[in-house]
Subunit: 314 residues, 2 copies
C-alpha cells in the first residue's frame, strides 16, 4: 500500500510519511496536495502562541482533551524556528503525547526549521492541509514568540490565543511585542503566581482602550492554571465563542479567502524561483553574461530585461 | 537642466535628486541606472557596522578625513532599519557633516527604511552604484547591528569593519552575534574605557583559534578613540592593507562577481513580482479563480499551474 492510499484509508503511519514528503518538498508533493485538496475545508485552525516556559504545551494538551471530549479529532503542530538551537524537543514531544490514545484521535508533529523564512510558514500551511484532509476537526498550531515566521503561521489561523505568564512583564511590554494585535483570546497562564491578577487587569484595561476591535469582538482575558486544568474549560469555551462569532459575521470566510489568495501568489513566486531563477543561476551561460557586464558589453539592468523577455510571454 | 545631465556634470543637487528617485523606485529609475552603469566600477565599498552608541559616526568621519587627505572623494550612506522608530537622525546627520567642505568631496545620505526586507538592501546597493558613477572613490556603508538587512548591505562591501566598545560584552557574545564571521578588521572603539584591553585581547585570541581565514588574511584588532582621532589612522591603514590583500589574491573580483550574479537574480525576482504577481492579485479574474477553489472546480495547486503556464514560455 502506498502512502497516499494508506492515508486515504486513515492509516496514521501513512499520514506521517505524507507529512514528511510535504516537509521535505519531495518530488510530486504538490500533485499529492492537489489530490488531497478536495477533502479539505472542514478543520478549524487554532493558533496558540507565547514565550518559552509559558506552559503552552500543557495548555494545548488540556484543550486537546476537551476537544476530544466534544467528539473532535485533533491535529497538533508545534513550530519553533529556534528549535535546532535549543534541541531536545523531540523526546519531550513523545513524552507529552503519552497521555493520549494512539488510535488516530490525536496526532502531534514538531515542524523542523527550514532555511528560508518563507519556507517554514509555507510548509506549515501545507501540512495543515494534510491534517485537514486526514479528518482532524481541529488543527492546533503552537508557536513560540512573534518572529516573522510565527506571525505568518498565526496569520493563517482562524482563532489566535496569546499565552502569557505573570513573569512575561506588564501589559505595555505585551503590547510592544505585537501580541495585542494578534490575540483573539488572551490567556494568563500560571495564574497561581504573584502578579497574575495585575497583568490580567492591565491587559483587559489596555484592550478596552482599543477604539474598535474588528467586527466588534471584545478580546476576553482568561486566567488559567494549565497544570491543574484550572479554567482550561473556560478558555476552550471562549475559543468556541470566537469561532462562532467570526463564522456569524463573515469574517471567517473573508480571512480564509485572503489566505488562499496569498497562498496561490506564494506558490507562483516559488515556481518562478525554482523553475527559472535556480535554473539560470546554474548555467554556464549565466556566467558568460556576467562576464559581459564586466567587459562593458551590457549592464545588470539590460541583462535583466533580456533574461526576463526570454522567459515571460507578453 | 534635468537631473541626469546635472549629475553627469557633477552637480551635487542633481545627485541628491537621482538618489531620491532610486530610493523611491520612481518610474524609469532602472533605465537611468543602466545609463549610469558604464561609469561605475571604480569605487571601493567599505562597510562599518556596530551597535548603537559604539561611536561609528565619529569613526566614519575620522576615516573620511583620512581618505580625503589621500585625495579621494568619499560617499557615505547610513542604513538603520530601525530609524523611523528612533527618529531624529536627520538633524544629527546635518550637524555631523558640518565639519566637511560642501564642494562635492564628501557626500552623506541616510537611507530611509523600505517596507520589505529585500527592499532596503537592494535600494542601498543601487544608491551605491549612483555614488560610484558620480565619482566617489570610497563608498562607506554605515549600519547598525546585524539584522538581515544589515547583513545584506554588509555582504556587498569589499572590506568590513566591525566596531565594538568595551560595554558590548565579551568575545563570546561578539561571536554569538555573528560579528566574527563578517569582520575583515575589528575595531575596539572608546578604548579609554575600562575593559577595552581585555575585550581586544579576547577577540584576538578567538580570531586566532579560527582554523583558516579565507585566503589567509589574519583579521587585525585595532583599538581606537575616535573622539580624539587616536589610532583612526591605524584603522585606515589596516583597511588599505585588507583591500590590497583581496585585490592581490583575486578575492575582490570573485566577490564582486558573486554580488553581480545575486543582483541580476534579485532584479529578475522583482520583475516577476511587479509585472506578474502584483498585477494578477489586482484583477477581478483572480477573485473568480479563488471562487473556483471554494466551489471545488479547482485547487490552489492546479490554479498555480494554470496561471504559471499563461505567463511562462516553455
Amino acid at each position: 500500500m502506498n502512502a497516499l492510499d494508506g492515508f486515504l484509508a486513515g492509516d496514521i503511519r501513512s499520514l506521517s510519511r505524507l507529512i514528511s514528503q510535504v516537509e521535505n518538498r519531495a518530488d510530486g508533493y504538490q500533485q499529492m496536495l492537489a489530490r488531497l485538496y478536495p477533502k479539505t475545508g472542514r478543520s478549524i485552525r487554532l493558533g496558540i502562541t507565547g514565550p518559552p516556559g509559558s506552559g503552552k504545551s500543557t495548555l494545548v494538551n488540556g484543550l486537546a482533551h476537551l476537544f476530544i471530549g466534544d467528539g473532535k479529532r485533533v491535529g497538533i503542530m508545534a513550530v519553533d524556528p529556534t528549535s535546532p538551537f535549543t534541541g531536545g524537543a523531540l523526546l519531550g514531544d513523545r513524552v507529552r503525547m503519552n497521555e493520549f490514545p494512539t488510535d488516530g484521535t490525536i496526532y502531534f508533529r514538531s515542524m523542523a526549521t527550514r532555511g528560508a523564512t518563507g519556507g517554514l510558514s509555507a510548509a506549515t500551511d501545507d501540512v495543515a492541509l494534510v491534517y485537514d484532509a486526514f479528518g482532524f476537526d481541529v488543527t492546533i498550531m503552537e508557536t513560540v514568540g512573534v518572529g516573522q515566521v510565527e506571525l505568518d503561521v498565526i496569520d493563517a489561523c482562524d482563532t489566535v490565543v496569546v499565552v502569557i505568564v505573570p513573569e512575561s512583564g506588564d501589559a505595555v511590554q505585551t503590547m510592544k511585542a505585537g501580541l495585542m494585535e494578534i490575540a483573539d483570546v488572551f490567556c494568563v497562564n500560571k495564574s497561581d503566581r504573584p502578579g497574575s491578577e495585575r497583568i490580567a487587569a492591565e491587559i483587559s484595561q489596555m484592550l478596552g482602550m482599543r477604539k474598535k476591535i474588528e467586527g466588534g469582538w471584545s478580546v476576553p482575558v482568561v486566567s488559567t492554571e494549565a497544570t491543574n486544568r484550572k479554567n482550561v474549560d473556560l478558555l476552550h469555551k471562549r475559543i468556541g465563542e470566537h469561532l462562532a462569532f467570526i463564522k456569524g459575521n463573515g469574517q471567517f470566510e473573508r480571512h480564509r479567502r485572503e489566505q488562499l489568495r496569498k497562498k496561490v501568489l506564494h506558490y507562483l513566486r516559488n515556481r518562478f524561483q525554482r523553475e527559472f531563477l535556480d535554473h539560470i543561476g546554474e548555467q554556464a551561460e549565466f556566467d558568460r553574461l556576467i562576464d559581459d557586464i564586466f567587459s562593458g558589453r551590457t549592464d545588470p539592468f539590460s541583462l535583466t530585461d533580456d533574461l526576463y523577455a526570454r522567459f515571460a510571454r507578453r
